[in-house]
């Protein structure tokens, strides 16, 4: 069969999709215009389909494809074959009827635009599913039906049942959707393409592949959840809290049929195996029986119809599962028939509900008197459901019975299938009878909110059309749906459809006998319903909603328990885990280290080093021993800092020694400032077990780090550093290589580093700005503070030292490029000198004397450093390219000017600004000079 590219096929999907937006705009023009406008685009789409129909009936599949996401195997790809055509008629045709019906069903309070938008969205999704020629695209539309049905079911979102029902439907179909996705991906992987044509052409490949059972199961999970097959059937009755047009559409004709469609679509590649038979037919059979049985006991009209739908879907599934071609044809036929009679039944139920205010069959009685016309329509449809001759339901049921007789996969138990099918049919008759008798006859209505009457004229039109179809198909099957059934079956079977005759009369045969049995049995069951009801009342009615919610709830609670146990909000635990992880990462590779000592010659030990080590180790341990006495810990910390600086000095890093020293003092001042506001000592909090655990882990990490450090120190290394030494003077213009690296080779790091400092200062300022903190009036031993806030000697000496300190910082700054020093250290010296003034004199004394905006200083510093770096752009060099030259002036002699100095000035200013912003403002916390949050503008 040739496929012809057809550019208009896309519009079949696009038109409804665009139509989704229409009601949102036309809602304001009134109900009729809104309804009409909503119908236009789907109708147009249907017309397009009808125009294509001829080609399809002629055996020409229509295809259209556009590239979309090739790396995912996703193309925008459509095809129209017989199966699609059949479904499109159902979706668009019944869809249009539902649009009309809903016009009268919805009350003035309901948002019509929203409803139609959801409905059309759903319709588009269904159209998309049935026309998709790409597996992933099919899945996209599949999921879209889940989403839009969620919106439709929860349309009356203020009702708890609506929300829960919608959620349940979404969860179940969503889960199925994920399974389907996995299945489709597997199939795509087997075939090497997600193109449906390719997939359908490779049935044998798929069936023989090792992952076939998994792929089959996953795809069927998708189909069964969507089509409410046992054990996933429970969501469907709860979806009945949707407005009735939704039920008529989604739960009879379309969405639940999506699963059936999926089975039909993949019938050529997945069916035909025993596994398929076992899963599909048994699931179908169980669903058929269960649905039919429960339907009888539902007092809610829509509940009855819902379980009836489940039962009929089971029937169709069973047919597909039988692995017989005629059965598949029967299944397709029953899809049509079920759609027509069930949609009309739902609509009738909706009319009854709408006009009487109740759906409870215990209250609804004798409606024949009040709405004879509607009653007639409903009774015809119900009889079709029961499979009464002359109605379409009878035809497909006959085919069904005959197919149940033609299978033998269950071996000697195969006889059970026709028997159980008959039992199911009997119950089907029984609940149909109940629907007819209990609602339209059976005495007078009880306590109805409204007096029932016939509905508006046009509300009946959709029902009339559908019931007429039931009759016409039932009487002239071959003329009405013969061709359609043929092309659809052809699409499913992918070859010539086996001979079947669509006729009312096939002579006296076993299926007819089974039908008769079912009729009689159904009547008997209904007649004796009181006993059955009594029997059934012994069982607690298990509400699926409660079970489902219960399961979800317990999952949520379990999750919460897990989360609260693990995420207990204890930082100590988080750090402990972090350290454990670190330990694992650090220690395990070390197991590969055969020996710790490398080949690098070691430096002999000397006494000074030992002294330093003793000081360092003892002090470090002292901070641990006395960590609860904070001031003490602080003093020992200072010792550690001092020794570290000395170590840098010893190991040839004078710049580091200087920096470490100045940072260390600034840190101590900072910690002292903060300690004032914090408890001075704390109780023993950690249990001994925790302490030893912590000690163990930190000790082990210490061992790991120490080992690595030793191994590293004793291993020879060649680095890129020779370059720096070689180019420091010639390329960077300075003899202090470390400084040249900082301001030139790796000036970018330095720029980042001063930015960090600047940001930290801003952050601190931000922290302080909103701080309201308690100021202790006594020290930790209860002593009142000394009465001398500004000791005179300290004041005198501090202010005398200030110019000296500034001089030293200029000295350190200027020499940095060539010998140890530089902007950072100079900046810290300046800041500490100024802080010393604050300590000695206090904020009030300082305030009139220092009028620098530290914030500007920070910004200015970073700006100068950046501007210096950007300056190189004007010489067509990259950012941070430095410049230096030597000049000589008479008398003064030769001197160097370098852009790096300017960069370093930026560093200096930022450091001063940042440190002062932090420390000086922290000091102001307790005075009247505390920061007031600036009001803007």
């Amino acid at each position: 069969m040739e496929s012809s590219p057809h550019m208009n096929l896309l519009w079949v999907v696009l038109l409804p999709l665009i139509g989704t937006l229409v009601p949102l705009f036309t809602e304001r023009f009134g109900r009729n215009i809104c309804t009409f406008s909503v119908a236009i685009l789907p109708a147009w789409s249907l017309i397009l389909v009808l125009m294509f129909a001829g080609d399809v009936f002629d055996g020409q599949d229509i295809r259209q494809s556009i590239d979309w996401i090739p790396s995912m195997g996703l193309d925008l790809s459509f095809r129209l074959d017989g199966l699609s055509l059949l479904f499109l008629f159902l979706i668009l045709g019944i869809g249009l009827l539902v649009i009309l019906y809903a016009r009268y069903y919805l009350s003035a309070k309901d948002s019509m635009g929203q409803f139609y938008a959801y409905l059309i969205l759903f319709m588009s999704a269904m159209v998309g599913i049935v026309t998709s020629n790409n597996l992933i695209q099919l899945w996209i539309f599949w999921e879209l039906t889940s989403i839009s049905s969620f919106l439709l079911i929860s349309f009356w979102s203020h009702k708890s049942e609506a929300r829960k029902g919608a959620r349940m439907a979404l969860t179940v179909t969503g889960a199925g959707g994920l399974a389907l996705l996995a299945g489709l991906l597997l199939i795509g992987n087997i075939v090497g393409s997600f193109d449906l044509d390719t997939v359908l052409a490779n049935g044998d490949l798929i069936r023989s592949h090792a992952t076939y059972p998994i792929a089959l199961t996953l795809v069927l999970l998708g189909a069964f959840t969507k089509s409410a097959q046992f054990p996933f059937h429970f969501w469907l009755p709860h979806a009945m809290s949707a407005p009735t047009p939704v039920s008529a559409y989604l739960h009879s004709a379309t969405m639940v049929k999506a699963g059936i469609f999926l089975m039909a679509r993949f019938y050529p590649v997945l069916a035909g195996t025993d596994l398929w038979f076992m899963i599909v037919s048994l699931t179908g059979l169980t669903t058929l029986l269960l649905g039919a049985y429960i339907a009888l006991f539902k007092h809610d009209l829509k509940g009855l119809l819902a379980y009836s739908t489940i039962s009929h879907l089971g029937l169709i599934t069973l047919l597909f599962g039988l692995n017989s071609e005629l059965a598949a044809v029967a299944a397709i036929f029953h899809i049509i028939n079920h759609a027509t009679f069930k949609a009309s039944l739902f609509m009738a139920a909706g009319i009854i509900d709408h006009e009487s205010g109740s759906r409870d069959m215990r209250k609804l009685n004798g409606l024949w008197k009040y709405m004879p016309y509607t009653a007639t329509l409903a009774i015809v449809a119900a009889l079709s459901m029961a499979g009464v001759p002359l109605l379409n339901g009878f035809l497909s049921k006959e085919m069904f019975f005959s197919e149940t007789l033609n299978q033998s996969t269950l071996g000697s138990l195969s006889w059970m299938i026709p028997l159980l099918a008959t039992v199911g049919a009997a119950f089907s008759v029984a609940y149909s009878l109940r629907f007819i008798h209990d609602v339209f006859f059976n005495g007078e209505p009880i306590d109805l909110p409204k007096t029932p009457k016939e509905p508006p004229r046009y509300m009946k039109v959709p029902v009339e059309i559908l019931v007429t179809l039931c009759l016409v198909v039932g009487i002239f099957p071959a003329y009405v749906v013969g061709d359609l059934l043929n092309v659809a079956s052809f699409a499913v079977l992918t070859h010539e459809v086996p001979i079947h005759s669509l006729a009312i009369w096939h002579g006296f045969n076993i299926p007819l006998f089974m039908s008769f049995l079912a009729m009689a049995g159904g009547a008997t069951i209904y007649y004796n319903r009181r006993h059955l009801f009594e029997f059934q009342s012994h069982f607690d009615e298990t509400d699926a909603k409660h079970i489902f919610e219960g399961i979800i709830q317990s999952i949520v609670i379990a999750s919460q328990r897990i989360i609260t146990t693990l995420e207990n909000g204890s930082l100590q635990r988080y750090i402990f885990l972090l350290l454990l992880f670190t330990l694992a990462m650090g220690a395990l590779p070390l197991l590969d280290l055969t020996q710790n000592t490398g080949s690098r010659p070691q430096i002999p030990i000397d006494g000074v080093t030992i002294t330093g080590a003793i000081l360092l180790i003892m002090s470090a341990i002292a901070t641990v021993i006395w960590y609860r006495k904070r001031f003490l810990a602080l003093i020992f910390l200072s010792v550690v800092g001092l020794i570290v600086s000395l170590a840098f000095a010893q190991f040839s890093a004078p710049d580091l020694a200087l920096t470490q020293l100045s940072v260390e003092i600034a840190t101590i001042i900072l910690l002292l400032l903060a300690l004032f506001f914090l408890p001075q000592n704390t109780y023993k909090e950690s249990s001994n077990r925790r302490l030893s655990g912590d000690l163990l882990v930190s000790g082990l990490i210490g061992c790991v780090i120490g080992t690595i450090c030793f191994a590293m120190l004793t291993t020879p290394l060649s680095t890129i550093s020779d370059f720096f030494i070689a180019n420091s003077k010639t390329g960077g213009g300075g003899t202090n290589v470390v400084n040249v690296i900082l301001v030139d080779f790796r000036g970018f790091d330095t720029l980042g580093e001063i930015t960090v400092l600047g940001i930290a200062a801003l952050g601190v300022y931000k922290l302080i700005a909103k701080m309201r903190i308690y100021m202790p009036t006594r020290d930790d031993k209860g002593r009142a503070w000394s009465n001398d806030p500004h000791p005179m000697m300290l004041e005198m000496v501090s202010q005398s030292l200030l110019p000296l300190a500034l001089l030293v910082s200029v000295y350190i700054f200027l020499r940095g490029h060539n010998v140890p020093g530089g902007g950072f250290i100079a900046g810290l010296i300046t800041s500490i000198a100024i802080i010393q003034q604050y300590i000695a004199h206090g904020v009030l004394w300082m305030k009139p004397r220092v009028s620098i905006d530290y914030q500007w200083l920070i910004a200015g510093g970073i700006l100068i450093a950046t501007a210096t770096s950007v300056g190189s752009w004007f010489f067509d060099k990259p950012f941070l390219s430095t410049w230096f030259d030597y000049f000589s002036l008479p008398w003064i002699g030769k001197f160097e000017l370098a852009s790096a100095m300017l960069f370093d000035l930026g560093v200096y200013l930022t450091v001063v600004g940042a440190v002062m912003l932090i420390l000086a403002n922290l000091g102001k916390l307790t005075t009247s000079e505390r920061i007031h949050i600036k009001e803007n503008d």
Partner: protein, 121 residues
């Protein structure tokens, strides 16, 4: 010499991490400071140890690796900035929550033991 150096780094690391694992902000800050000493020494060690080799041209015969020194300088500055922030954060936490526990509240267990401790004394 290398062994002693590595040992000191190990001790500092141990002490630092142990204090970081404590429950009070100030102690944690002390721990972080110790840890940053350890880190700086360690990072410095990546250039190996050298005596009399300051990387100032013309001052030594052989130069120590200047690059780790520059890295450590950056690390020191950043460490200082971070310490400054976390110290003030500790204060802010005390101000906002009324205690200086890292979790913003004293664990129930501790409160109990403290009461019993008081009772005993």
């Amino acid at each position: 010499m290398e062994a002693i150096y590595a040992f000191c780094v190990g001790i500092l690391t141990t002490c630092g991490f142990f204090l970081v694992l404590r429950g009070r902000t100030f102690t944690v800050v002390i721990g972080l400071t110790l840890l940053s000493y350890a880190v700086n020494l360690f990072l410095f060690a990546s250039g190996r140890l050298k005596l009399d080799g300051a990387a100032v041209l013309g001052q030594s015969a052989e130069y120590s690796d200047p690059l780790p020194q520059a890295l450590v300088l950056t690390a020191i500055v950043i460490g200082f900035a971070m310490t400054a922030f976390v110290v003030i954060l500790a204060m802010r936490s005390r101000a906002d929550q009324g205690n200086d526990h890292v979790d913003g509240h004293i664990p129930v267990k501790t409160t109990k033991s403290r009461i019993s401790e008081k009772r005993h004394s």
